[in-house]
Structures are given as structure tokens and as C-alpha cells.
Symmetry: C2
Subunit: 221 residues, 2 copies
């Protein structure tokens, strides 16, 4: 097993436009670490299901969490294969021809099998990781989970068996014959942008928005 | 079949926090129409796969497109069941307790079966719909697809058999006992924001960014 790259297995091979594909661990990790929501795909008796959920990465492992009533977590805790995808939309690519319109994006597609986290110490670590993944710096500024809350939360760990990243980051690629057409071409950049934090009603007096909320940013921004 | 709601079938029933769930067609449509990327889940011999891709809605039908070499499109064109999910991240919900941290979001989960679009007139309509979905107003300002490009693009149609929306749009829900804790609580709003359009090198002289690029917006913004 390579330390820097995921194995090149058939299932996760990117066939289309392979010049945009990578099995480099660092590239997959960067996409995961910037993302907030992953899309989890798993098989059910009635067909595939894809559910969005928060997550956190810990090395080559992803943690998911939720209520014990969550059908997704119950299904996954049986140890069935799972595919987890994280996608960033970075821009819309407007070419002179309709055909060459495209999107700049970064996506990571992971394959693995989930296991339920029962060990309390690991569960605590996982839950803290998820809070810190979503809002870095938040943990010391919260009331930590009590015994009931820890029991009530279901945590799953997915070890990454295979993964690949796919990236497009370029302007339009028009045919030479189209370059002189009178149509604007270029990229409309897009990014997930934070707004002004909205304080909850009934905050204790004198509490203003902390820097991690006032200047919220994802890794890589 | 209800005109306003999707059927309440077991597979697409939202079990967790059902107060956030809806089968209303108008709500599902609004989430789809604002989205840019959907996550398509389908079964393969080696397990489930989830792939991000552009799309467009036409009534109760979604169009997907891509290269004939796309493994996803080839798999789906065999008429296998598919689950398609579109998610908007609207904000991070910071509660006083770690346990009640949450996310404001809107997601739509659809189930259906794909068919390949062979009819040239439908294919043209679908491709135009996809361009117009991504950049409304763009079509008249492009060179339309030629015969080769139409042939080279594979288009799939997915009729929506079942669907549900799930929405959280609220501040933190802390326990009463936590309300006086000295932690900031509230929402960090997030939205996909467009930047200044970046013109391609070699634009024909005198072509400035058109209004649909300069003031890019999604329906619902």
C-alpha cells in the first residue's frame, strides 16, 4: 500500500478525461478537509440511496454521526459497502460553443465499509472531530456532551479502502474554428461564502460573535 | 398520483426529524432548480457508486449528459434504478452545547430509472435545458451543437418516481438548562456566491461580460 497514493483499482478508476484524475492521498485529503457535506451512497433492498451528511476526516478514516433512528446509520452499521463523495463547485465554464460548456470543480470519491464506533473514547474523539471539522476552534467554546448525549449519538467510522480525486480548473477549451465567434467566453467563479453571523435570541449579555464565526473560513480558502 | 405531492413510499420516507420533511412537488422542484450539481447513486458489481454531475429539470424529468465513454452514463443507460440527491448548505448552526450543533440545509432525494435519449429533437431540447439550467440566458449567445457534437453527447432522462425534500432552516435548539451558558450561539449563513467573471484569453475585441454572467444568480437567490 503506497503511502502517498491510493491503489489503482478498477472500481474507482476515473475513465473520462483521465488527465483530471488523481489517486494522490494529499489531493483527496484536501478536498475532504475543505468540504462540509458528503453524499453517502449505499444499497438498500429497493435500490441505491444517496444521503447528504456532515463528516470529519481522521487520517484515512471518515467519521459520520447522527441519531440512532437514522436509517442510513442503521443500514451502514451492518458493515455494508459504502461510497462517499465530496464535491466543490468552483466555477462555471462558458465556452463559445454550447458543447464545450463545462464546470470547474473538485470531487473526491471514496470506497469503504462502515463500522459502528462503540468505544466511548473513540466516540468522544470522533464527535469532537466533527465539530472541529465544521467550525474549527469551536469545541472549547461549547458545553461538551453528557452521558445521555453520547449514548444517544450514533457514530460510524469508514476506513478509506480506495479513493480518487477528479479536478477541473481551467478556462474554456473551444475549437480553434470558434475562437473568433462574437460570444463572450470565460469562467464565472463560484464559492461557498459565509455571511455575517446571526446571534441566537437570548444570548447571555456581553457575548459577541467569536473570531471563528466572525471570520469563518474553510481550510484552503 | 397526486398533482401536488409525491407518493409516500417506504424507500423515500424521511424517518429522522420528520418535521423537516416534505413530499410537496413544488418544494422538491425549487431545490432542484436552484442546484447546479446532483449526486447520482447507482449499483455496480462492486458496490454502490456516487458521482457528481450537472443536470436540468423538465417537469417531472431530470436530464443528465456526458461523454459516451462515461461509465456512469453507460451503467445508467441499462435502465437500472438510480437515486439522485441535490443539497444546498445554507448555514452552520452553533448551539451552546456541542450536541445540538447542526446545519441549515435543503436537500431533495429522488428515485427513478434512467433511459437513454435517442430522439434527436428531445436530445437537443435536453442539452439546451442543461445549458439554460446552469447559466440562464446563455443559449442564444453560443454556437449551438453540430451533428458530430450531438452524436458524441450521451443524454439520459430520469423520470422522478418518488421524491422527498428535507429542510432545516432555524436557529440553535438548546436545552433550557444551557441557555445561560457563556457561549456564543447562532447561525453562520453560507451561500454559493459568484465572483467577477474571468474573460477567456483571445476574446474577439469589444466583447464584455454579458449581464447573465456579470450578475449571475440562481433561481431563489
Amino acid at each position: 500500500m503506497s503511502e502517498t497514493h491510493y491503489p489503482d483499482l478498477e472500481r474507482s478508476r476515473v475513465r473520462r478525461l483521465p488527465e483530471r484524475a488523481s489517486r494522490e492521498r494529499a489531493e483527496v485529503h484536501a478536498i475532504l478537509d475543505e468540504g462540509l457535506v458528503c453524499h453517502v451512497g449505499f444499497a438498500t433492498e429497493r435500490g441505491p440511496v444517496v444521503i447528504p451528511t456532515l463528516y470529519a476526516r481522521d487520517g484515512e478514516r471518515l467519521y459520520l454521526h447522527g441519531s440512532p433512528a437514522s436509517r442510513m446509520l442503521r443500514s451502514l452499521s451492518r458493515g455494508i459497502p459504502v461510497c462517499i463523495t465530496v464535491t466543490h463547485v468552483d466555477g462555471l465554464v462558458l465556452a463559445r460553443s454550447a458543447f464545450h460548456h463545462s464546470m470547474n470543480y473538485r470531487s473526491a470519491v471514496l470506497f469503504g465499509t462502515a463500522r459502528e464506533v462503540d468505544d466511548l473514547a473513540e466516540k468522544r474523539r470522533a464527535l469532537e472531530r466533527i465539530v472541529e471539522h465544521v467550525v474549527p476552534g469551536r469545541t472549547p467554546d461549547t458545553r461538551g456532551p453528557n452521558e445521555f448525549e453520547e449514548k444517544y449519538t450514533r457514530v460510524l467510522a469508514v476506513e478509506i479502502d480506495e479513493a480518487s480525486a477528479k479536478v477541473r480548473r481551467a478556462g474554456p477549451k473551444d475549437d480553434d474554428a470558434d475562437l473568433s465567434l462574437p460570444h463572450w467566453a470565460g469562467v464565472i467563479p463560484l464559492r461557498l461564502a459565509p455571511g455575517e453571523p446571526l446571534p441566537d435570541d437570548g444570548l447571555a449579555p456581553g457575548i459577541s460573535a467569536p473570531p471563528y464565526a466572525e471570520r469563518y473560513r474553510r481550510p484552503g480558502w
